[in-house]
Protein backbone atom coordinates (compact mmCIF):
# COMPACT_ATOMS: atom_id res chain seq x y z
CA UNK A 1 0.00 0.00 0.00
CA UNK A 2 3.04 2.21 0.28
CA UNK A 3 3.15 2.81 -3.46
CA UNK A 4 -0.38 4.25 -3.38
CA UNK A 5 0.75 6.87 -0.89
CA UNK A 6 3.75 7.67 -3.09
CA UNK A 7 1.51 7.87 -6.16
CA UNK A 8 -0.89 10.26 -4.48
CA UNK A 9 1.97 12.44 -3.28
CA UNK A 10 3.55 12.62 -6.73
CA UNK A 11 0.20 13.37 -8.33
CA UNK A 12 -0.31 16.27 -5.94
CA UNK A 13 3.23 17.57 -6.54
CA UNK A 14 2.98 17.65 -10.32
CA UNK A 15 5.85 17.17 -12.76
CA UNK A 16 9.34 18.16 -11.65
CA UNK A 17 10.34 19.23 -15.16
CA UNK A 18 11.08 22.89 -15.55
CA UNK A 19 8.60 24.19 -18.16
CA UNK A 20 11.27 26.48 -19.59
CA UNK A 21 11.21 26.77 -23.38
CA UNK A 22 7.41 26.68 -23.22
CA UNK A 23 6.88 28.46 -19.91
CA UNK A 24 8.56 30.52 -17.21
CA UNK A 25 11.63 29.37 -15.33
CA UNK A 26 13.44 30.37 -12.16
CA UNK A 27 16.58 32.47 -11.85
CA UNK A 28 18.59 31.95 -8.67
CA UNK A 29 19.41 35.01 -6.61
CA UNK A 30 22.89 36.34 -7.37
CA UNK A 31 23.23 34.56 -10.73
CA UNK A 32 25.94 36.22 -12.77
CA UNK A 33 24.74 37.00 -16.28
CA UNK A 34 25.12 39.81 -18.77
CA UNK A 35 27.40 42.67 -17.67
CA UNK A 36 25.89 46.07 -17.08
CA UNK A 37 28.01 49.22 -17.08
CA UNK A 38 27.05 52.65 -15.80
CA UNK A 39 29.47 55.32 -17.05
CA UNK A 40 28.07 57.97 -14.69
CA UNK A 41 29.41 56.05 -11.65
CA UNK A 42 32.76 55.08 -13.20
CA UNK A 43 35.95 56.79 -11.97
CA UNK A 44 38.15 55.22 -14.70
CA UNK A 45 40.47 53.51 -12.21
CA UNK A 46 40.82 50.65 -14.75
CA UNK A 47 40.76 47.97 -12.05
CA UNK A 48 38.15 45.98 -14.02
CA UNK A 49 40.31 45.94 -17.14
CA UNK A 50 43.25 44.76 -15.01
CA UNK A 51 41.44 41.85 -13.34
CA UNK A 52 39.25 40.70 -16.25
CA UNK A 53 40.08 37.00 -16.69
CA UNK A 54 38.68 36.63 -20.18
CA UNK A 55 40.02 39.92 -21.49
CA UNK A 56 36.48 41.06 -22.16
CA UNK A 57 36.94 44.64 -20.95
CA UNK A 58 38.79 47.10 -23.13
CA UNK A 59 39.33 50.78 -22.37
CA UNK A 60 40.52 53.09 -25.11
CA UNK A 61 41.01 56.78 -25.69
CA UNK A 62 38.72 58.53 -28.13
CA UNK A 63 38.63 62.25 -29.00
CA UNK A 64 35.52 62.68 -26.82
CA UNK A 65 36.71 60.78 -23.79
CA UNK A 66 37.58 57.37 -22.40
CA UNK A 67 35.46 54.53 -23.79
CA UNK A 68 34.93 51.25 -21.96
CA UNK A 69 33.79 48.27 -24.04
CA UNK A 70 32.73 44.88 -22.67
CA UNK A 71 32.35 42.03 -25.14
CA UNK A 72 29.92 39.58 -23.55
CA UNK A 73 31.10 36.75 -25.81
CA UNK A 74 34.43 36.43 -24.05
CA UNK A 75 33.27 37.24 -20.52
CA UNK A 76 33.73 34.21 -18.24
CA UNK A 77 31.16 35.50 -15.71
CA UNK A 78 33.75 35.29 -12.91
CA UNK A 79 32.52 38.43 -11.13
CA UNK A 80 35.98 39.86 -10.50
CA UNK A 81 35.13 43.22 -12.13
CA UNK A 82 32.13 43.77 -9.88
CA UNK A 83 34.17 42.66 -6.86
CA UNK A 84 36.97 45.12 -7.54
CA UNK A 85 34.86 48.04 -8.82
CA UNK A 86 35.03 50.67 -6.06
CA UNK A 87 31.83 52.44 -7.10
CA UNK A 88 29.67 49.60 -8.42
CA UNK A 89 29.70 51.03 -11.94
CA UNK A 90 30.22 47.60 -13.52
CA UNK A 91 28.22 44.62 -12.34
CA UNK A 92 26.57 41.41 -13.47
CA UNK A 93 22.83 41.41 -14.01
CA UNK A 94 20.85 38.18 -13.66
CA UNK A 95 19.95 38.23 -17.37
CA UNK A 96 21.16 34.93 -18.83
CA UNK A 97 19.22 35.18 -22.13
CA UNK A 98 22.35 35.62 -24.23
CA UNK A 99 21.67 33.11 -27.02
CA UNK A 100 22.12 34.79 -30.38
CA UNK A 101 22.62 34.06 -34.05
CA UNK A 102 26.06 34.12 -35.61
CA UNK A 103 25.26 37.38 -37.45
CA UNK A 104 24.82 39.14 -34.07
CA UNK A 105 28.10 37.83 -32.65
CA UNK A 106 29.88 41.17 -32.51
CA UNK A 107 26.80 43.12 -31.34
CA UNK A 108 26.93 41.55 -27.86
CA UNK A 109 28.64 44.59 -26.45
CA UNK A 110 28.09 46.83 -23.43
CA UNK A 111 29.81 50.17 -23.70
CA UNK A 112 30.01 53.56 -22.07
CA UNK A 113 31.82 56.82 -22.64
CA UNK A 114 33.33 59.02 -19.95
CA UNK A 115 33.71 62.46 -21.54
CA UNK A 116 36.78 64.55 -20.81
CA UNK A 117 36.32 67.63 -18.65
CA UNK A 118 38.55 70.70 -18.60
CA UNK A 119 40.78 71.13 -15.53
CA UNK A 120 39.52 74.13 -13.57
CA UNK A 121 43.14 75.20 -12.95
CA UNK A 122 44.83 75.01 -16.36
CA UNK A 123 42.08 73.93 -18.75
CA UNK A 124 43.77 70.68 -19.81
CA UNK A 125 41.53 67.81 -20.96
CA UNK A 126 41.28 65.06 -18.35
CA UNK A 127 39.00 62.51 -16.69
CA UNK A 128 37.56 63.81 -13.42
CA UNK A 129 38.40 61.53 -10.49
CA UNK A 130 37.98 61.69 -6.74
CA UNK A 131 41.16 62.05 -4.64
CA UNK A 132 42.14 59.24 -2.29
CA UNK A 133 41.54 60.65 1.23
CA UNK A 134 44.15 58.29 2.76
CA UNK A 135 47.06 59.83 0.84
CA UNK A 136 46.04 63.47 1.25
CA UNK A 137 47.56 63.98 4.70
CA UNK A 138 44.62 65.98 6.01
CA UNK A 139 40.90 65.51 6.52
CA UNK A 140 39.28 66.99 3.40
CA UNK A 141 35.88 68.64 3.58
CA UNK A 142 33.22 67.93 0.97
CA UNK A 143 34.14 71.22 -0.68
CA UNK A 144 37.83 70.28 -0.95
CA UNK A 145 36.96 66.93 -2.49
CA UNK A 146 34.76 68.55 -5.12
CA UNK A 147 37.46 71.07 -5.91
CA UNK A 148 40.22 68.43 -6.18
CA UNK A 149 38.00 66.22 -8.34
CA UNK A 150 38.06 68.73 -11.19
CA UNK A 151 41.83 69.37 -11.13
CA UNK A 152 44.46 67.70 -13.32
CA UNK A 153 47.29 65.86 -11.47
CA UNK A 154 49.79 68.77 -11.53
CA UNK A 155 47.20 71.39 -10.50
CA UNK A 156 45.96 68.96 -7.84
CA UNK A 157 49.44 68.65 -6.30
CA UNK A 158 49.65 72.43 -5.98
CA UNK A 159 46.13 72.65 -4.51
CA UNK A 160 46.83 69.90 -1.96
CA UNK A 161 50.02 71.68 -0.89
CA UNK A 162 48.07 74.93 -0.51
CA UNK A 163 45.48 73.12 1.63
CA UNK A 164 48.27 71.92 3.92
CA UNK A 165 48.50 68.28 2.86
CA UNK A 166 51.19 66.02 1.43
CA UNK A 167 51.62 66.65 -2.27
Amino acid sequence: MKFLKLLMRNLAKGPSTDPFPFGPTFTPKGLRGRISYDASLCTMCRACEQVCAGGAIRIDKTPEGMRLVVWQNTCVLCGLCQYYCPTGAIHHTDNWHMVHLEAEKFDQVEEGLIPYVACTGCGAKMVASYPNPKTLGFQPTQEDVEKLRLLCPSCRRKAIAAMGGKS
Binding site: D18, M98, L101, Q108
Partner: protein, 142 residues
Protein backbone atom coordinates in the same frame (compact mmCIF):
# COMPACT_ATOMS: atom_id res chain seq x y z
CA UNK B 1 7.32 19.79 -48.36
CA UNK B 2 7.65 16.05 -48.53
CA UNK B 3 6.37 13.74 -45.83
CA UNK B 4 9.88 12.88 -44.64
CA UNK B 5 10.81 16.55 -44.29
CA UNK B 6 7.62 17.22 -42.34
CA UNK B 7 8.31 14.36 -39.96
CA UNK B 8 12.02 15.02 -39.48
CA UNK B 9 11.37 18.68 -38.70
CA UNK B 10 9.81 17.47 -35.45
CA UNK B 11 12.71 15.32 -34.34
CA UNK B 12 16.20 16.61 -35.04
CA UNK B 13 18.95 14.47 -33.52
CA UNK B 14 21.71 16.10 -31.57
CA UNK B 15 25.37 15.29 -31.79
CA UNK B 16 27.98 16.59 -29.43
CA UNK B 17 31.59 17.36 -30.34
CA UNK B 18 34.13 18.24 -27.68
CA UNK B 19 36.74 20.37 -29.43
CA UNK B 20 39.08 20.63 -26.46
CA UNK B 21 36.61 21.83 -23.86
CA UNK B 22 37.31 21.96 -20.11
CA UNK B 23 34.24 19.67 -19.65
CA UNK B 24 32.16 22.37 -17.95
CA UNK B 25 29.90 22.80 -20.96
CA UNK B 26 29.79 19.04 -21.52
CA UNK B 27 28.47 18.56 -17.99
CA UNK B 28 25.76 21.13 -18.71
CA UNK B 29 24.91 19.33 -21.96
CA UNK B 30 24.66 16.04 -20.07
CA UNK B 31 22.45 17.83 -17.54
CA UNK B 32 20.03 19.03 -20.20
CA UNK B 33 19.82 15.52 -21.60
CA UNK B 34 19.79 13.32 -18.51
CA UNK B 35 18.06 15.24 -15.75
CA UNK B 36 14.24 15.21 -15.94
CA UNK B 37 14.17 18.77 -14.66
CA UNK B 38 15.54 20.15 -17.98
CA UNK B 39 14.82 17.26 -20.36
CA UNK B 40 15.86 18.29 -23.87
CA UNK B 41 13.77 15.45 -25.31
CA UNK B 42 10.61 17.52 -24.84
CA UNK B 43 11.77 19.47 -27.90
CA UNK B 44 11.84 16.25 -29.92
CA UNK B 45 15.61 16.02 -29.74
CA UNK B 46 17.70 13.02 -28.93
CA UNK B 47 21.43 12.60 -28.56
CA UNK B 48 22.89 10.14 -31.02
CA UNK B 49 26.22 8.38 -31.01
CA UNK B 50 27.13 8.63 -34.67
CA UNK B 51 27.79 11.81 -36.65
CA UNK B 52 26.05 10.22 -39.64
CA UNK B 53 22.71 10.33 -37.82
CA UNK B 54 23.03 13.90 -36.60
CA UNK B 55 21.04 16.96 -37.61
CA UNK B 56 22.06 19.52 -35.02
CA UNK B 57 25.67 19.53 -33.86
CA UNK B 58 26.63 21.07 -30.53
CA UNK B 59 30.31 22.00 -30.33
CA UNK B 60 32.04 22.85 -27.07
CA UNK B 61 35.65 23.87 -26.52
CA UNK B 62 38.26 26.12 -28.01
CA UNK B 63 39.30 24.00 -31.03
CA UNK B 64 42.77 23.04 -29.90
CA UNK B 65 45.52 22.31 -32.40
CA UNK B 66 45.45 18.66 -31.34
CA UNK B 67 41.78 17.98 -32.17
CA UNK B 68 41.30 20.40 -35.06
CA UNK B 69 41.66 17.85 -37.87
CA UNK B 70 39.50 15.30 -36.08
CA UNK B 71 36.74 17.84 -35.45
CA UNK B 72 36.76 18.93 -39.10
CA UNK B 73 36.66 15.27 -40.20
CA UNK B 74 33.69 14.58 -37.89
CA UNK B 75 31.94 17.71 -39.10
CA UNK B 76 32.35 16.55 -42.72
CA UNK B 77 30.72 13.24 -41.80
CA UNK B 78 27.50 14.92 -40.65
CA UNK B 79 25.04 14.93 -43.56
CA UNK B 80 23.65 18.22 -44.89
CA UNK B 81 21.50 20.09 -43.99
CA UNK B 82 22.90 20.56 -40.51
CA UNK B 83 22.76 23.28 -37.89
CA UNK B 84 25.81 24.13 -35.79
CA UNK B 85 25.50 25.42 -32.25
CA UNK B 86 28.55 26.78 -30.41
CA UNK B 87 28.07 26.08 -26.70
CA UNK B 88 29.97 28.25 -24.24
CA UNK B 89 32.20 31.22 -24.92
CA UNK B 90 35.24 29.09 -25.89
CA UNK B 91 34.12 28.15 -29.41
CA UNK B 92 32.70 31.66 -29.92
CA UNK B 93 35.76 33.71 -29.00
CA UNK B 94 38.32 31.54 -27.22
CA UNK B 95 37.43 32.80 -23.76
CA UNK B 96 40.29 32.60 -21.26
CA UNK B 97 42.30 30.39 -23.64
CA UNK B 98 42.34 32.93 -26.45
CA UNK B 99 45.72 33.63 -28.05
CA UNK B 100 47.28 30.47 -26.64
CA UNK B 101 49.77 28.60 -28.84
CA UNK B 102 47.73 25.42 -28.55
CA UNK B 103 44.45 27.01 -29.64
CA UNK B 104 43.53 27.31 -33.30
CA UNK B 105 41.21 30.15 -32.62
CA UNK B 106 37.49 30.69 -32.75
CA UNK B 107 35.46 27.91 -34.31
CA UNK B 108 33.89 30.08 -37.01
CA UNK B 109 37.25 30.33 -38.77
CA UNK B 110 36.76 26.69 -39.89
CA UNK B 111 33.09 25.78 -39.46
CA UNK B 112 29.97 27.82 -40.34
CA UNK B 113 28.34 28.38 -36.93
CA UNK B 114 24.62 29.24 -36.75
CA UNK B 115 23.75 29.78 -33.09
CA UNK B 116 25.95 30.95 -30.23
CA UNK B 117 25.08 30.00 -26.64
CA UNK B 118 26.95 32.38 -24.34
CA UNK B 119 28.03 31.43 -20.84
CA UNK B 120 30.93 29.90 -18.99
CA UNK B 121 29.32 27.39 -18.76
CA UNK B 122 25.84 28.34 -20.00
CA UNK B 123 22.87 27.41 -17.81
CA UNK B 124 20.93 24.32 -18.90
CA UNK B 125 18.02 26.66 -19.67
CA UNK B 126 20.29 28.74 -21.92
CA UNK B 127 21.30 25.56 -23.78
CA UNK B 128 17.60 24.67 -24.19
CA UNK B 129 17.02 28.17 -25.55
CA UNK B 130 19.88 27.67 -28.03
CA UNK B 131 18.60 24.26 -29.12
CA UNK B 132 15.11 25.75 -29.61
CA UNK B 133 16.63 28.44 -31.82
CA UNK B 134 18.63 25.83 -33.74
CA UNK B 135 15.43 23.82 -34.36
CA UNK B 136 13.82 26.91 -35.94
CA UNK B 137 16.79 27.22 -38.32
CA UNK B 138 16.68 23.46 -38.96
CA UNK B 139 13.03 23.71 -40.05
CA UNK B 140 13.89 26.44 -42.53
CA UNK B 141 16.76 24.42 -44.01
CA UNK B 142 14.74 21.27 -44.63
Amino acid sequence: MSLISRISARSPWLYRINAGSCNGCDVELATTACIPRYDVERLGCQYCGSPRHADIVLITGVMTARVKDKVLQLFEEIPDPKVTVAVGICPISGGVFRESYAVCGPLDKYIPVDVNVVGCPPRPQAILEGVAKAIEIWKQRL
